[in-house]
Structure formats: C-alpha cells, structure tokens
C-alpha cells in the first residue's frame, strides 16, 4: 500500500513537471534582436537604419587593414611598390583583369538593403522634423551605390524593391541601358536634394549626409556621365545621349553650391595652406570640407589609420609632378623659372606651391616626435617604388608613445574646391565658360596658393599637354591640369581617365619614379630605366614594349562574373569580355 503512495507521488511530480511546461514551450522568438514587425515606428528608427550604410563609405582603411593607400594608387599618379604590385586600378589600366567566377564588384547587398528601407519608410507613421531628411538620405544612398556600380559596369538592372527569392522577373531580368540607369540615379539624387536638410541644420554636419553633399554628388556624377557619353561617342561604350544634358546638370548643381554660399575655400599662408588642409584630425567647422570621415584612435583600431607610417607600398610618379606649372604660371617646358626636376633636390624649385605641399623632398619634415624633428633625407625607394613619398595628408606631429598603426587624420570625401573645378570643366565642355567663371573657380584655387591667374585668351600652349587621342581645347587642357594639381591623390584620377576616354595617354606607356642617383641606387632594389629613372614596373606590365596593355575596346568596363551569366541568360557580358 505504502508503495502505491510512493508511485502516486512520483507520478504526480512527473505530471506537474509536464503540466508546468505550457503549450508555448516550443514557441521561441529572438531575445536580443528586433524583428521586422516591431520596427518602423519612429523617425529615429529611420535614422538607426540609415546609420548602417555609413560604414560603406571607405576613407582611410582602418589601421589593422594594412597599408594606407592614396586613393589614386594604381593610376599614373601613384604606383605600387615592388611588393604590392597588382592592385585593382593597376590591373584595369594594364588591362589584365580576369573574368571572375563570382563577385568581382557585382554585389547588390547594399542596394537590396536600401530598397528595403525605401519600401518600408511609409510604415513609420510618426512625422517629425527629420523624417523627410531621412527619406532623402535613403534616396541618396541608393544613388550612391548605383553610381559605384554604374562606373564599373555601365548598364545595370534597375531594381527598386527589396528582392526576394520569388521575384523571378527581377532575378532573371536584363540590364537597363546606361542612359536609363543614369537617369534613375539622377532621379534619386534629385529626390535626395529636395528632401534633405542643408548641413547647417544638422547636429553633426559633415559626417551626416546633407543637401549640400547631395548637390556635390549630383555635380560629380553628372559630370562623369556627361563627359563619358561625350568622349565615348561612337565607341562600344557609348550611351544613348551626347551627354550635354548631364553636363548642364553638373554645371547647375555646382553653381548652386557656389551660390548657396555655405562653403568657401580655406585660405592662409600660400606656402602651407594647402598642406595643412589635408592633415587635420578633425574637420568639424572647416569651411571648405563638405563631407568627411572622422577618425579617433582612442575609440579603437578600426577608427584610426596609419597615415604617418609612410611610405607604405606606393609612391608618386615623376610624370605626375610634370603637370605642375612653374611659379610664373607657365608650363615647365617654356618657363624661364624652371630649373629642372630630375632629382628630388630640385623638384620643387620655382613650381606651383602645391607641388611642394604634396611631394616629399629632402629637407621636408617627416615627423615631429616630442622635442625631436625628423627630416626627410633619403627616400625609401623599395617601399615607395618611385622614391617619391607623400607630403599631402601627412600628420607630422606624432605622439612618440603611439604605435605606428594609430593615426588620427580625417579623410575628406568632398570639399568645396571640387565644386569649383566641376563648374569650370562643365562650362568649358559646354563651350560657355567665361573669364568670370574662371575667376570664380580656377583662379580662386590659384589665389589661395599664390599662383598667377588663368586668363582665357592668354593660355600658353604646353608642349607636354597630354595627348588624349582627340583634339582638346587649350582651356580644357588647363582645367584638367588644374584638376590634377588641386585634387591630386584624392581618388578622382581613375574615374577621370575613364570618363575622358584617355587611353591614348597611358596605353603602352610606363610611368616612372624619381631619377636614380648613384646614392639612391646604392640603397634600393628598384629597377632603373634607360634614362636613369626608377622604373618599378619594368618587366611587369603586359602591353607592347613593357607598357600598359589596356584594351580600349574592352577595358573601360569590368566583366560580369561567369556564374551570373550562367544563372541568368538574359544578362549579357560587357563588350570585349
């Protein structure tokens, strides 16, 4: 009998145990993540969602990310050192890109995510003063991501919804032509401009997108698309228009920035103002900087960079230095002031002051460390490849106790000078450039560094003007030169060469470093060419005579990955691939 009691007790305990587990025992939803139905309530939700896209702006790589490249590395301005040969730009200029199996820049994650944002934004019922601004940011990002792919691939499918695995018409759709794609991009940018607040009304101007940024982006993108259409006319890369309408849009947008008057050039001592513009640790409040990435090494490794640990795998070219005028405003080929430029010692003599503030020559300060000042003496040719290191961006005062991977210099994405250059170039391309326009733009930049003005009807022809393979007006030659000098190593060069269809300029050529003096040859491993200049790409390029092997019928656009063509037979490969 007693035994039966025990059994009953156990049975009771067991059934209680079972009973206590309610029916929802197997219902488990996430405990530390928001699910979609619980989101989209307030304008701050919109802000949170948009914040994630800012990580896709790539300024300086984080200090753990290896070297700190200039943005123009791999173009005619800057070559990779001996050890790093083969960056994307070098490969594209050398025409040695391969058709990838997958990836290769054909990635749509950001576009899907921003479409997800735009598709859900109306679920937020709360109004709020920033709501429209955030909707504008959404359109800006979509345009930004599309423009990135547009530059690489040209025609693209136009996708405006967050795609799911069931959307077969989109997944297996064809590409829209490049003109439609760019119209779509422009439309998004215009939406952004109309909805967003100007910088001055934002809590963190310069690090959060604004109407001003959208305007400059519009000018930049429209100039790219317009000049591309113009110069690629008749080629396999031509679009459906002659581009003039886009160039007009570019001019208008740039003009609006100028007219708004929200920004102005930083001025100061002409021998240092340019240099000091680029090595600041915080651009908050800077009148010229419209959009920048802030770094702060105290916050952590991924928020700092290694900008003073130079040279770090690349160096500027001798050829680039030859774009800089003499200080009398004349090309070096004709200027009486020119004293030669072969060796670093004399490179910067009597030249546009921006050269001295961009290139590093003996006697320049490398770094100031506590009470010690370290001067540049002998270049590290092996590491730079060319022997010409950068002065621009160099934050010379270092905390001696800071590791080499911990720099603080902010990265400028957009500054006012670009708007001036776009306006001048667009007007010149349209044939409507006036001296007043030049004075308002190019000559502002020249005034800052004490260079003589560009006078439209008094341009001295330069025997060294690049041969772009087509006739170009003197003024456009000079405007392009100004763009080179002002925006040097800021990441515009490759796009410029592409939109100008400039292959005649570099195909079959090889760009070189400084003159290899006996002392420098002693300490370097870099090959030297017949003229005695460091020639890091000797024996490494694929074109005839060891020059760049670019294929103008193919290499202006990147190839689509093999897998994508296999999966979607409606997708066609870019020309030549």
């Amino acid at each position: 009998m007693k035994r039966i009691y025990y059994i009953l007790i156990v049975a009771l305990a067991g059934s209680t145990l079972l009973h206590s587990c309610q029916d929802d025992f197997l219902e488990r939803s996430p405990l530390d993540q928001i699910s979609d139905p619980e989101f989209w309530n307030s304008q701050s939700d919109l802000e949170l969602f948009l914040n994630s896209f800012y990580d896709s702006f790539q300024g300086w790589p984080a200090s753990g990310g290896g070297k700190a490249p200039t943005k123009d590395e791999g173009t005619d301005f800057a070559l990779e050192g001996l050890n790093a040969f083969g960056g994307t730009f070098t490969q594209r200029m050398d025409g040695v890109l391969n058709v990838p199996g997958s990836g290769g820049g054909w990635s749509w994650g950001n576009i899907r995510n921003i479409n997800y944002f735009l598709a859900n934004v109306d679920r937020v019922e709360e109004g709020g003063s920033m709501r429209d601004h955030y909707v504008g940011e959404g359109h800006f990002f979509r345009a930004w991501f599309y423009f990135d792919m547009f530059k690489d691939f040209g025609a693209l499918p136009i996708i405006t919804v967050p795609v799911t695995a069931e959307d077969e018409d989109i997944l297996y759709g064809a590409r829209a032509n490049r003109t439609d794609v760019f119209d779509f991009i422009l439309n998004d940018i215009d939406m952004a401009i109309s909805k967003m607040n100007p910088s001055s009304q934002l809590a963190t101007p310069g690090t959060r997108l604004s109407k001003d940024i959208a305007l400059l982006f519009k000018a930049r993108a429209a100039l790219f698309a317009g000049t591309w259409e113009k110069y690629h006319q008749g080629s396999v890369f031509a679009g459906q228009t002659d581009g003039s309408q886009y160039i007009e849009e570019a001019a208008a947008a740039a003009k609006q920035i100028i007219d708004d008057g929200h920004f102005s050039l930083v001025t100061g001592d002409s021998s240092s103002v340019y240099f000091e513009l680029f090595n600041q640790v915080d651009y908050a409040g800077n009148p010229e900087v419209i959009f920048y990435q802030h770094f702060d090494r105290v916050i952590g490794d991924s928020f700092s960079n290694q900008l003073w640990n130079w040279p770090n795998g690349y160096g500027y070219t001798y050829d680039a230095s030859r774009f800089y005028l003499s200080n009398d405003g004349l090309p070096i080929a004709v200027s009486p002031n020119f004293v030669g430029d072969e060796t670093l010692d004399i490179l910067e003599e009597n030249r546009d002051p921006r050269l001295a503030q961009t290139f590093m020559v003996p006697g320049d300060i490398r770094r100031i460390q506590g009470t010690d000042t370290l001067y540049f003496d002998t270049p590290d040719v092996d590491n730079s490849g060319t022997g010409i290191e950068s002065q621009k961006f160099r934050h010379i005062v270092v905390d001696p106790s800071v590791g080499i991977n911990n720099g603080n210099v902010d990265y400028i994405f957009m500054r006012y000078a670009e708007a001036l250059l776009i306006y001048a170039e667009a007007k010149a391309e349209l044939g409507t450039l006036t001296q007043a326009d030049v004075d308002m733009t190019i000559n502002q930049l020249r005034d800052r560094v004490g260079m003589p003005h560009l006078i439209l009807n008094d341009i001295t022809p330069d025997p060294n003007w690049p041969d772009y393979g087509y006739p170009l007006t003197d003024v456009l030659q000079e405007i392009r030169r100004e763009r080179v000098v002002e925006l040097f190593a800021e990441g515009f060069r490759f796009d410029d060469l592409m939109r100008w269809r400039a292959h005649e300029y570099w195909m079959g050529e090889r760009f070189v470093g400084t003159f290899a003096t006996p002392e420098l040859r002693e300490v370097s491993n870099v090959p030297v060419n017949a003229d005695g200049f460091f020639d890091p790409f000797r024996d490494r390029l694929s074109g005839p005579d060891g020059g760049y092997g670019f294929d103008p019928e193919r290499d202006y656009l990147r190839p689509l990955p093999t897998n994508e063509l296999t999966l979607n037979t409606n997708l066609d490969q870019n020309p030549g691939w």
Partner: protein, 1122 residues
C-alpha cells in the same frame, strides 16, 4: 562478569592494510590497542565506558564489523576486546569442460583486487577470509563464483561460453546484451584510454572505433584543443555533423570528463540504434559510461607526467640558401635582390662566427633599427630557426578516486587534474583541467533506486592573442620570420619587433570554463519487469573569456639629427591602447526524461516495451565589456581603465519536446526484432513545420543458435543483423524563420565624435524550414570463432540524408542577400566497417590481444537545387570534398614554349615567364579557362583529388607477460588528398616580403642558370615571386594536380610499457596493486606530406599550413590501488 571479545578482520576491511603492520593477531597489550581497531572503536568504547584490556586475552565471543563500525550490543564495562585475522588458505585445480587443466585462469576474491592465476597444471593457492566469495574466470569461459565457507580445497570446471557476447552494452535509454544487438554499435573500453598522456577523451578515442573519425580542427594540437568528429562520414550541407554525446545519460561535450573515469563507450552508428535519441542524434551517438562504485572499498591513484615536442614542424632553411632563394624570388619579376652581396657576406661571417658582423642591414632612410617586412633586413644567425617551437614542454596528470559500497549504497568519487604547457617557446601558453565526479547510488527500498551524478569541471587556458588574428597570430609566424632576423636589438636585451616575442608575452587571452552537471535519477520497480525511470539533467556552464593587451616596448630611432644613428629608444607603447576585455558566457540546459519499460518472458518469447518522454530547454547569454587605457599593467580590469568602455550582450534559447517508444521481441534466443518510434518537436521551426515522426526497425538472427550450426563447434557466435530507420535533425540556427534585424554600432564611422547605433536589414528569412531526415540502411554480421578467440564484425550501410538544410538554389547576385536556407537536396553516404579481434592466452605467463578496425565511406550529393550545375556550390553527383583544378603540363622551360603554348590568360592575364606552370588544355579549345564554371562545361577543370580521409584504420596490440605489459596502438588514413591552395606558408618564397620564407624543402623550386644556386629545371615548385600574390596567381591561384599533397599517414599513436609489482611485494607496501609504466604518444609518423603534420592541416588563418602541430609525448606514470 568480564567477557572477552574478539574482532575478526576481513580482507576487504578498511583496515585491511593496517593488518600488515601488526601481525595477524593484533596483540592488545599495555593499554595500546591496534590503531585501526581503536579508530573503529573509539567512540563506541567511550560511549560504553569500556576499559580497554590490560592484556591479550583469547576471545570467547566474536562480534561483527563491516569496516565502518562495530556492533557492540552486549559489551559491558570491564569486558576485554581483542582482534585476530581469520584467514584460510584455499587451493585447487581449474579445468575446462573437457577435463583439461586450464593454465592462466584467474582466481580472484570478489569485491577485492586480490587474486592469483592458475599455474601450468591449472593449480592455484590463495589466502582468503572465510566469508569470501572467489571468482574463477578465463577468456572464453563462463566465470564462476564460489563461496568459500569452510572449505580449503575448491576444484572448478569452467564451461566454455560466449563470454564476450554476454557483455552488456549501454544503448539508448537502457542496456542490452551484446548478443542481442540488432543495430551497429561499437564499443571501446576504458582501459584502452587510461594512462595515455593525452589532453582529452577525443585524443584517447581516436582510431579506437571504426568509422568514428576524429581529426584536429583549425586549433590543431593546441593545448586543450577540441577536435572534429564524424561518425560514418555522415554529411550535411551546413557542415555540422558532430555526434551527440551523452555521459551517464547527460548530454555533454565529450571532453568534459577525465578519460580515466571512463568505464566503457558505446558508439551508436545506425539510425535504428540512435533513433531513440531523436532530434539531436542524427549524426550518431556516443554513450559514455563512467565508473561506479562496487562492493567493498578501494582507493586508486594514478599519475602520469611527460615531455612533449612538436611531431612535425618545418624548419627554416639555414645557411645562405634561404637568402639566395628570396633573392631569386625578387629578381624573378625584375626587382633587385633583398640581400645584396654585402648582406650575404655579413651572413656568411655570422654563420662562421656568430655576432661577428652587424645583424641588420642599413635602410636607405638610415633607420638602421628597422628590420622591415618581418625581417628582410636581417642577416644575423641568432637561432631564430627555433623561435616558435620549444624542444620540450611539460604535461602532468593526476587522478584520485575513492569508490566502494555495500548491498544498498555504492559510491564513486573521482578527482582529476591535468596540466599541459604549450609548445610555444615564448608565449607560455597553458591549459589545465580540474574535475570532480561523484556518483552515488542507493537502494531506497526493494522497489526503488536513487542515483545522483554530480560532475564538475573547470578548465583554464592562457594564450597569446591578437585582436585581428586571434590565436592564428603565432602559428602564422613560421611563414614570416626569416632565418636572418636578429633576435635582439644590437647591444640590448630587447627582442626585435619582427620576432613578435614581446607582444606574445603581453597580449593574452585567458579562458576559464566551469561546468556543473547535476543529474538525479529515480528508478521504480513496482512489480517484476516494470521499471520506470525519471531522470533530470541539468547542466550549467559559465565561461569567462578575458583578453588583455598590456603595454610593451615600442622601438623608435634614437636621438640624433636625423634619427639615423644606431641608437635605439625603447618607448613604451601608448597607454591609451592598452585594453581589457571580459566576456561572460553562460548557458543552462535542463532536460527531464521519463521512461518506463516492461519486460516479460513468456516461454520462448522475450518481450519488452518501453515508452518515454523528454523535453529539452537550452538558454544562453553572454555579457561582454571592453575597456581601454589601463592605469596599470599589474591590475588589468574594467575598474582600473580610464578610457572608453564598450558593452555588448547576446541572449538566445531553443527547446525540444519528444515522445518515444521501443518494442523488443526475441524469439527462442535466435530471432531478434526491435521497433523504435520517436516524435520530435523543435522550437527552431515555425509551428506548421515543427513536428516530425521518425520510425525505425531492426532485426537479427543468431545463426549459431540454430541446430545446424550449434552442432558444429565452428562458431561460438554467428549473427546477422539489419536495420532501417530514420531520424530528424534540427541542427540549424535558432529563429531562422523570423526576420530579425541585427543591431550593432557602426564599424568605422563616427557621427561627429560618436559611434552610432545601427539597425540592419534582415536577411531573407527561411520559410517552411523543417527537419532534415537521416535514413540509414544497415547490414552487419558478427562472428566469434575458435573458442571466442577470434571476433569479426563487419557492416555495410547506406545513409541518405534528405531535406537537407542548405544554402538554397544559387540565385543571381541581384538578390542582394544570402539565399535563404531551404530543405532541399540529399546526400548519400555509403560505407563499410570491419572490426577484428584476436585474443589468446599462450601460457600462464603470456597472453595477448590484437584488435583492429578498418572503415571507409564515400559521400555523394544525390540531389541539389543547382539546375545549371555551377561548380561553386553543390551539384548532383558530386563527391563531397572533391577538388576541382587544372592538370599540370610541366614548367615552362623556354620563352618559345610560352609563346607557342595555349592561351593561359584566363588564369593570369599578365606576363608568363619560364618556370611558371603550363596547364593542360583538356577541352582542346586553345585556351585554359573554366568554361561556364559548370559540370557540363568546366573548361579545363577536372576533379583532381578529394580531401575526404579514406580507409581510416586503427590497430591495437596488448600483451602481458608475467608482470609486464605492453600496448601498441597504430592509427592512420590510407588515402587522402590535400591541397594547400594559396596558403602562403606552403608557397614559401613565393609570397610577399612580409609573408615569404624558406622552409627546408622549399629549395626545390624552379630556377635557371642565372640563379646563384644554379639551374633547377626539374623542380617541384614553380618559379617564386616575392609578391603577396601578384604573379604567384599563375601557379597558386587555382588548385593544380601537381601540387596536390598525399596526406595519407600511419602513426604510432601510443606505445605503453607497464610493470605491475608482484602481489606479495605490493601488499608489503600496503597496496593491493601497483603498476608503473612509460607511455609515448605520436612516436612515429609515416607520411609523404610536405612540411606539416598530416593531422594538423586546417590552419586558423591563411588556410592550411599554419596549424598548431600535434605533440610527441614521452611520459611515465604510476597506478596505485589501495
């Protein structure tokens, strides 16, 4: 009236060994009583106000004692107590059933370790106490127990039998006689794992069980590293195919216990055997039973200490060859050499007379202190060759257990400690584990048993660590550090930065892992045959993961106008970036199990029915805090940091609920049938897809019981068995069906000066995700012949894993998201396994046993939604782990060959040079490419190998001669291909200046006569380029058959010699038995693999080649039983 009492010792008394000190009869004189007896009596004597006797008086009455206390009901003041031993000597002869004497049969006293072995005539003599029970046993014969009583001669005839087949094997929710098994179950014994100088149970089990493949993962042979396990090669698309491990019925990590505590292991392989465990058992089950207390009492202690060194670890190429090789790699693409003539001269000088020439080359900038690129400016000869790995490191192991019991209670209490120092020369990593296991069983009433398992484990690890590379940091150094690198800055005692030593010492990770398992179990047997078990499993784990980055010296050029002097300043790295990071991870597992079985024997019908219920709930959470700027290196903590502080957490859970049942039927002890059914529900699937039903059936036929066979003496056992079953697998991530939006801070963007929070878009959620189904058809034959000396077990199986959760059909990239997971696709695994054993007693002094196992399988994708047959994902017909690559067609030897050859620009569109690989144009289209990258049009790709380990085997030999024993254990893989891909360690000099290096073996690279080392046109390696990848893409960008490595190996895993002290000597030092042994682990390896340990292939960072090697360990140890 004074009474004289006598206490009679029994051999298994707690005081047994004290008897040795005192004579057989303890003289109780002078008021001094035997220590042992006084211990036992002190309370009772005091309580009874007894006076101890003044003199030794022979007993007139006896009283009882059981080793724990004495029963003194009638003792009065003034009574005298004395003690004596009641031993008798028994002797006799042991014979087999044919009447022949059995030499070497063992005769032991039940409940003790006392015993002897019969001599050549089958005779024995043994001292026992009169109440003893003696067990007579011999391999292949049924053991017999005999109560001694007052006999002095006991003759025994042992009956031959199927002894090992009467062995009881632990199966799911119960036990079974081995002979009645119908599924594929392999077993391993605790003694095969004991006394080996191994880190954990996995290392001990490697190679013991057929088709249980245990291989190091990316952690390689790091101290305390877990390994990857698969049973029968069962595969899934997601890759997680780890078996389900239960220790005494509690799900656990297999390495959570001390190998010394293991009694036996059952490995359930086929679906019919595992299906009772359902949801988590799809990829097999490992059941570990730990030791428990038996009658009597025993104390055991064992220890084992040894020295380890790396098994196989590449050496840096010394001399000047390495420098010439690196120079060639530079000049190969037009650059000037790293090491100019002057450097080579300095190196030669230093080789001849160390330290005679400066070890660093000056830099152009004059920064003479800078070695650049992990040492490309170093020309010293400073012993850097052995920078990373030590010659010897120490490991030690202790295990102490106390066990015992009586009719109603049994207990087993064990405590183990293991300490292993790592192999790093300058990093002092270590791992240790401390565990306490307690098992207590009580018979509460005739119909109720109570068991309690308590297990506690604490593990501690301490390693160098790096924020970006984790522990990959130091292994990768073998591919970076150059032979010429100076160890210290000239004139100082500070390590050069390129050695990384200072950082290894100061940037560390320590992990403390505490686990507590509580498992009470009640067993109720109200009537004969009906048993109901309620077991509650509770596991709580707490892990504390701490990372510290302390300040370390940072080298700066010294004073001087240009910093170009030879002076060096050592400036501490800035405090701002010192860091402390602490993460607490907790998880709790709670699972009640209730099952009830009823068995009945009705004539020749043996029936058993079992039904049960189980639910599981698992919750986990972590909380991490990270702070910067430590005020002091001595006290790293959040509280003592004054920089930024970051906090994060994570919480999650899952649950399952299951009902299961099993029906067993045996007819006439010949025909076996088992039916299982299990229904599982999992929280990981949405409601409509939540439940799955998984049946299985198995049957066996014991042919040897049939008259036509039992009449012959050929087979002791012959059994055929087969099973078919399915079970479900829920091993997918939690909450996949709910679209969640990850919240995190910006990774590299600051708004103003602030990081901001972000919420990201959800991935496409996986709708209708449900159970994977694993179905296995299993056939086997078990045989035992030659008086059970030879055992054979052979099985074949085919497993189809269907509705596999995989990455879904490949979709165009415009989807912009990972393709949602789907249940689609099927993998078929076919394999076989063979286990053989041979044991023999040659004569009374010598017996031996050989056990071997060999197994193989192949897994093939049967179905996968990849209509185009793209090669970058699964496709139907694919053998898992196959390698697609190009065929090698020699090195280009002349420019003409390059110009006339097929177009290889798809692989590399830049320049091709002599010494690069020429590939075969398999499809004859005049160019080398991947076609459409599909099975139908793979261009010039072909399947050139497969990384699946094939024909895994193990061979275990044990022999005992008198008091000596030896065991030898070989383990290996007979066939395996391996590709190092573009691993820079494997490429050696063909890597950028940071990552290039020359290991012994790398000198066989292609060079022409322009090389200082002379031409080597028939080289193995291609022309190297000192670029991180660059031109090396020509030769290392895609797998090529020429570079496929043969990763087959045969390894002497363990060799052990032991010597047991003779009983008589052992007893003199108070022991029941004692054994000393030496044991070696990984002593010999036979392999063709270049550079690396064939078991440690998967590196942590740059793919293969930078894995922590396994250890060769020499150890000595001792086992003592009291």
């Amino acid at each position: 009236m004074r009474t004289n009492y006598t206490y009679t010792f029994r051999k298994h008394d707690t005081c047994f060994y004290l008897r040795k000190l005192w004579q057989k009869t303890i003289p109780v004189t002078g008021g001094f009583f035997g220590y042992c007896l006084s211990l036992l009596l002190v309370f009772q004597v005091a309580a009874a106000e007894l006076s101890l006797p003044k003199s030794n008086i022979n007993g007139e009455k006896e009283f009882a004692g059981n080793g724990f206390g004495l029963d003194l009901p009638n003792v009065k003041t003034g009574d005298a107590i004395s003690a004596r031993m009641a031993d008798i000597t028994i002797s006799g002869t042991v014979k087999d059933d044919t009447g022949d004497p059995l030499p070497g049969a063992s005769v032991t006293v039940a409940g003790t370790t006392l015993g002897t072995v019969t001599d050549i005539d089958g005779k024995y003599t043994l001292e026992v106490d009169e109440n003893a029970t003696v067990i007579f046993s011999f391999i292949g014969f049924e053991p017999q127990e005999v109560a001694v009583g007052n006999r002095s001669e006991i003759n025994i005839t042992l009956q031959a039998n199927v002894s090992s087949l009467n062995e009881v094997v632990v199966v799911g929710y119960g036990t079974k006689k081995k002979i009645n098994l119908t599924g594929a179950v392999s077993t391993a014994r605790g003694e095969d794992m004991a006394n080996r100088p191994v880190t954990n149970v996995q290392q001990a089990m490697q190679g013991l069980v057929s088709n249980l493949v245990i291989q190091p993962n990316t952690a390689g042979g790091e101290p305390g590293a877990d390994m990857a396990m698969t049973i029968r090669g069962l595969a899934s698309f997601e890759g997680n195919t780890a078996p389900f491990v239960l220790v005494d019925g509690v799900p656990m990590g297999i390495n959570d216990i001390d190998p010394n505590d293991i009694e036996s292991v059952s490995v359930l392989k086929d679906a019919a055997s595992t299906s009772i465990y359902g949801a988590r058992a799809a990829y097999g089950v490992i059941l570990i039973t730990t030791k428990k207390g038996s009658k009597g009492s025993r104390i055991s202690y064992s220890t084992n200490a040894g020295l380890s060194s790396p098994t196989i670890w590449p050496k840096l190429q010394g001399g000047t060859d390495w420098a010439h090789a690196l120079n060639d790699a530079r000049t190969n693409f037009g650059a000037s050499p790293f090491y100019p003539e002057e450097a080579i001269q300095r190196l030669e000088q230093n080789l001849a007379n160390p330290g005679s020439a400066p070890g660093m080359l000056p830099l152009g900038s004059g920064d003479n202190w800078d070695l650049m690129n992990t040492g490309t400016r170093g020309v010293a000869n400073d012993g850097i060759r052995d920078l990373i790995m030590k010659d010897n490191s120490f490991r030690v192991k202790h295990n102490l257990s106390v066990s015992g019991g009586n009719d109603n209670v049994n207990y087993y209490l064990s405590s183990g400690f293991y300490q292993e120092d790592g192999l790093l020369r300058f990093g002092d990593e270590s791992f240790n584990r401390f565990n306490v296991d307690a098992k207590i069983g009580a018979k509460v009433t005739e119909w109720m048993n109570l068991d309690l398992f308590v297990k506690y484990k604490s593990e501690n690890e301490d390693f160098p660590w790096n924020q970006n590379f984790g522990r990959a940091w130091y292994m990768n150094w073998i591919g970076k550090i150059k032979f010429g690198t100076p160890a210290k800055y000239p004139g100082t005692d500070i390590w050069t930065q390129q050695t990384n030593v200072e950082a290894w010492r100061r940037v560390r990770q320590t992990i403390t892992d505490n686990q507590l398992v509580l498992s009470p179990k009640i067993e109720i047997k109200p009537i004969e045959g009906w048993v109901t078990t309620v077991q509650l499993n509770y596991t709580s784990t707490q892990v504390e993961d701490t990372r510290t980055a302390l300040q370390y010296p940072w080298v700066r050029p010294g004073d001087g106008p240009n910093f170009s002097g030879g002076d060096i300043d050592f400036i501490p790295q800035n405090r701002e970036s010192t860091e402390y990071h602490n993460e607490l991870r907790r998880n709790t597992y709670l699972s009640p199990n209730i099952y009830s079985s009823y068995s009945r024997l009705l004539g020749r019908h043996d029936l058993q029915l079992m039904v049960g219920y189980q639910q599981e709930e698992y919750t986990f959470s972590n909380l991490g805090a990270r702070s910067f700027f430590l005020l002091s290196d001595a006290i790293p903590s959040i509280s003592t940091s004054v920089g930024d502080q970051l906090v994060n957490d994570g919480i999650g859970h899952w649950s399952t609920r299951s009902f299961f049942g099993r029906f067993n039927y045996i007819f006439d002890e010949k025909y076996l049938l088992e039916v299982n059914m299990r229904t599982d529900g999992s929280s990981r699937f949405e409601e409509a897809e939540r439940w799955g039903v998984f049946p299985s059936v198995s049957a066996g036929w014991i042919l040897s019981e049939e008259n036509f066979l039992s009449s012959t003496d050929l087979f002791d056992l012959l059994k055929l068995r087969g099973s078919y079953g399915t079970l479900g697998n829920q091993d997918v991530a939690n909450y996949l069906f709910i679209p969640t939006m990850p919240i995190q801070q910006t990774n590299n963007w600051l708004f103003g000066n602030q990081r901001a929070w972000t919420v990201r878009a959800p991935n496409l959620n996986s709708v209708n995700l449900s159970w994977e189904t694993v179905s296995t058809l299993d056939l086997g034959i078990d045989a035992s012949i030659l008086n059970n000396r030879l055992g054979v077990s052979f099985g074949v199986y085919e497993t189809r894993t269907s509705d596999l959760v995989g990455p879904g059909q490949p979709l165009p990239a415009v989807l912009g998201s990972t393709v949602p997971k789907r249940n689609e696709g099927e993998i078929k695994t076919r394999g076989w396994e063979l286990e053989l054993s041979w044991k023999n007693q040659v004569n009374p002094d010598f017996r031996y046993e050989i056990r071997g196992q060999l197994a193989d399988y192949r897994s093939t994708v049967v179905d996968y939604n990849n209509p185009n047959g793209l090669l970058n994902t699964f496709y139907p017909g694919q053998d898992l782990n196959e390698i697609w690559g190009y065929r090698y067609d020699g090195h280009f030897q002349t420019e003409a060959e390059i110009n006339e050859g097929v177009d290889q620009s798809f692989i590399y569109s830049g320049l091709w040079r002599t010494g690069d690989f020429r590939y075969k144009d398999l499809n004859g289209d005049g160019k080398i490419d991947i076609g459409d990258n599909t099975v139908g049009n793979p261009g010039d790709l072909e399947i050139i190998g497969n990384t699946t380990p094939r024909f895994t085997y193990g061979l275990n030999l044990n022999a005992q001669w008198r008091n000596f024993d030896v065991s030898v254990f070989f383990q290996g893989v007979a066939k395996r291909d391996w590709t190092f891909g573009n691993s820079s360690v494997f490429r050696g000099p063909a890597a950028g200046p940071m990552h290039n290096n020359v290991l012994e073996g790398h000198m066989d690279y292609w060079r022409d006569e322009t090389s200082v080392l002379g031409a080597n046109p028939d080289a193995y390696f291609p022309r190297p380029y000192a670029q991180f990848f660059g031109e090396n893409a020509k030769n290392y960008g895609s797998p090529v058959d020429h570079l496929i490595q043969n990763a087959a190996y045969l390894r002497l895993k363990n060799l052990q010699f032991g010597y047991s002290l003779p009983q008589k000597i052992a007893e003199k030092v108070l022991l029941t038995s004692a054994r000393i042994f030496v044991s070696g682990e990984n002593l010999l390896t036979f392999t063709d693999l270049m550079f690396f340990d064939p078991e440690a292939l998967a590196g942590r960072w740059y793919g293969a080649g930078d894995a922590y090697p396994l250890s060769t360990t020499m150890s000595a140890g001792i086992n003592l039983n009291f």
